[in-house]
Symmetry: C2
Subunit: 435 residues, 2 copies
């Protein structure tokens, strides 16, 4: 007999079917005995009537793998609207030890319980609420790729073992590479720009590594990054429109297709307009200052409180909880960014639900300007790690821009989790290298 | 005026259009002056008639970024079947240095020229033949994911920074992780098995790292791996059928959609049947021994020559150049593989065009058997790196199996390249950490 999945049980009223899965819940109350079986599509309720079938379940714990053949009956109160009667049970894999964490009730995500959550991750992920988080994450990845394919982007795989650290700084993992020092990629920045010279439009979804010494709700040492780069832009608006259309497309799809899961995870309602409001940093300083009776005129950058505030403001004012902050200070620029004419960077931050989820800059594509900017920050354009990069500019790169964002953080903010680690299957931080 | 892409020029006969791209070829012959412009969709030929337009091109090299406005005329001999007349040229980014490698003629992939190929990779990838390789690679990734989505697989992202080396052995990169020793993942093996307990069917496409001391055509230190794992299998055939259906689906799609590109890359014709022939190792020893008048009865494993031979044999005999070699020796088993009853491993090798592209085993899902097999190879099931893994078995994993294969090697064999590095944008080996 072919296996029927939980989601298809309701289509088989009156028929005998085969269910396979994990024992998820067991209630042997004497009079009324029932169990729930979990498979990849959900739960099936089974009423166990016969005494010798009940006996088979004695001593078996949650996680036991069962095959069940029985007849489907309509039952509106059961998960999926139906249940199985007259079952014959077969124990495929017996489990005799209780699970270390609760499988059937939501697990605590309170800060003081996170260590326990991650310690028992291998089992805790079987909890239905946890599973939903990672089903949503996997769908986000799928929607992102579909959007980018539709817009003619080519997927690339760039090396994570590199000679030089593209972003510089201390937060780089180093390793011995056959007697030479190698670094683990913090981002595919230089490679994706080189690849604009080949495919014009490229993207990569891959791990990136940061030796973050901070232990906060925002820091992990391994992230999954989306990186996108696009050539032949007319100006900064082309890049802002790209990330705006991407974020709008994937989130509205997700909130439509996964409405029920998002609701059961207490995700906030989504408020997005097809065009995200754009405020300059000066405007934000001004609006925030007035509203909060503070003088922000001396601030060089946006404060974290301003980031939260402007998202709330735009949500009320514009009906959109994603906002671009433009006119960022030149001091925030990387050497590969382009400077605007008015002493601000040709770059914007995309803020969503209170925090920055991406910086969206135009790149400096002019060879001479780029190498000058490299020298200013102390990078030798002719060093082995950088020479191939600058050669792509010497031999012609068009005006281009791009962005990257963490899939982890996007998942976190989409669902409304409190800590980025809750959106990672097996998070890595300063204190955690297992499981 | 909106930009027209090279592939759409033919649709605009008689109209004035705007073309943007790289100067790809320049022929200033006095009487007849023409240039080719490259964009992400191909080449456009432009006839430059007016003297002052010709003058704009003096001194400019391949790679120069141009905007061209002109009128489309039918011209069967031009790329795409049309060309631009009466152009007005605008130089967006001038390039004054000749490219270090040929852009318009195929680059040499002879072993002695590979170092030059990789040294100038940033520019060499703009060569149309190189671009095709990576367009095909990106499509393979897309087709693989589409097949797996259709079959209900969930995408996962597992950590590349790990405490213990899952596969053991010396070929592991090690690094300092905040004072602790970490290893770079050789594969997501243990994590994908844990995730069977959550999603039943999972996959990941991600980098994997091997400190390979060998310098051969098959060895690189960073690969892009597809990893797949499937629960609730009835036996080894379910896993063989899965990888067979996947490979059949993606390769027949590719050969249909990219026939022209594959032909221009001299890719061999594809010979596949929907069911791949299956031969046991004993049968292969026997067939090969008879054909080559050799006694193979003492061989424990397949020899490389047998791998090549059986693929040729099956191509002629069965009309299929993908073959499963079953009944592999127990000595080749990993601790997480399942032993068959007849002292062979419940595992098969998938051979394609002469080499093994994947090993396709059933896993040992029984907690007691697994921990016994771990102890036999000297692994402590209770060590911090392994305890979370075995706990997934203690709390119930169904019969499962899976496989992994290198996207690099699959691309190499699909196109018929001679060295796996030719299928990698920026390959890493014992001698190469840049570009």
């Amino acid at each position: 007999m072919d296996r029927t999945l939980a989601e298809d049980v309701i289509k088989n009223i009156g028929k005998e079917i085969l269910i396979e899965g994990w024992l998820h819940k067991k209630r042997l109350l004497g009079g009324l005995n029932f169990i729930n079986i979990r498979d990849r599509t959900g739960l099936t309720q089974i009423v166990v009537e016969q005494k010798d079938e009940v006996e088979k379940l004695r001593g078996l714990q949650i996680g036991t793998i069962l095959k069940v053949i029985g007849t489907v009956k309509d039952e509106p109160r059961a998960p999926g609207g139906a249940e199985i009667h007259d079952p014959k049970l077969e124990v495929v894999v017996p489990v005799t030890e209780e699970p270390p964490v609760e499988i059937d009730k939501p697990l605590s995500h309170e800060p003081e319980n996170l260590d326990t959550l991650f310690e028992h991750r291998a089992i805790g992920l079987r909890n239905l609420q946890e599973t939903k988080i990672f089903k949503i994450r996997s769908q986000l990845l799928r929607y992102i790729r579909e959007f980018l394919y539709k817009n003619d982007f080519t997927e690339i795989n760039t090396p994570k073992l590199q000679a030089d650290a593209a972003e510089g700084g201390a937060e780089v993992f180093k390793l011995d590479y056959f007697g030479q020092e190698a670094t683990l990629a913090q981002s595919p920045q230089l490679y994706k720009q080189i690849m604009v010279g080949v495919f014009e439009r490229v993207f990569e979804i891959a791990p990136a590594f940061r030796a973050e010494l901070s232990a906060t709700t925002r820091h992990v040492s391994e992230v999954t990054m989306l990186d996108v780069e696009m050539g032949f832009i007319e100006g900064p608006d082309d890049v802002l429109n790209l990330v705006q259309d991407l974020v709008y497309d994937i989130l509205t799809r997700l909130y439509k297709d996964y409405a029920e899961d998002l609701k059961s995870l207490n995700a906030p309602e989504l408020k997005l307009t097809a065009e995200f409001p754009r405020y300059s940093m000066a405007e934000i300083h001004n609006l925030y200052g007035k509203a909060n009776k503070k003088d922000m005129s001396q601030e060089i950058d946006l404060t974290p409180d301003e980031e939260r505030w402007i998202c709330e403001y735009a949500k009320k004012q514009d009906g959109c909880e994603a906002v671009f902050a433009t006119g960022l200070p030149v001091s925030k620029m990387k050497f590969y960014h382009m400077k605007g004419e008015d002493e601000t960077a040709l770059s914007a931050d995309l803020l969503f639900r209170g925090i920055e989820i991406s910086t969206v800059p135009v790149r400096e594509h002019r060879y001479q300007h780029l190498t000058d900017q490299m020298k200013t920050v102390g990078i030798d354009p002719n060093s082995p790690g950088f020479a191939p990069y600058v050669s792509a500019f010497k031999h012609g790169l068009p005006p281009h821009g791009g962005f990257g964002f963490g899939i982890d953080r996007l998942t976190e903010k989409t669902i409304g989790l409190a800590n980025v680690k809750e959106a990672i299957l097996f998070p890595r931080d300063i204190n955690r290298l297992t499981p």
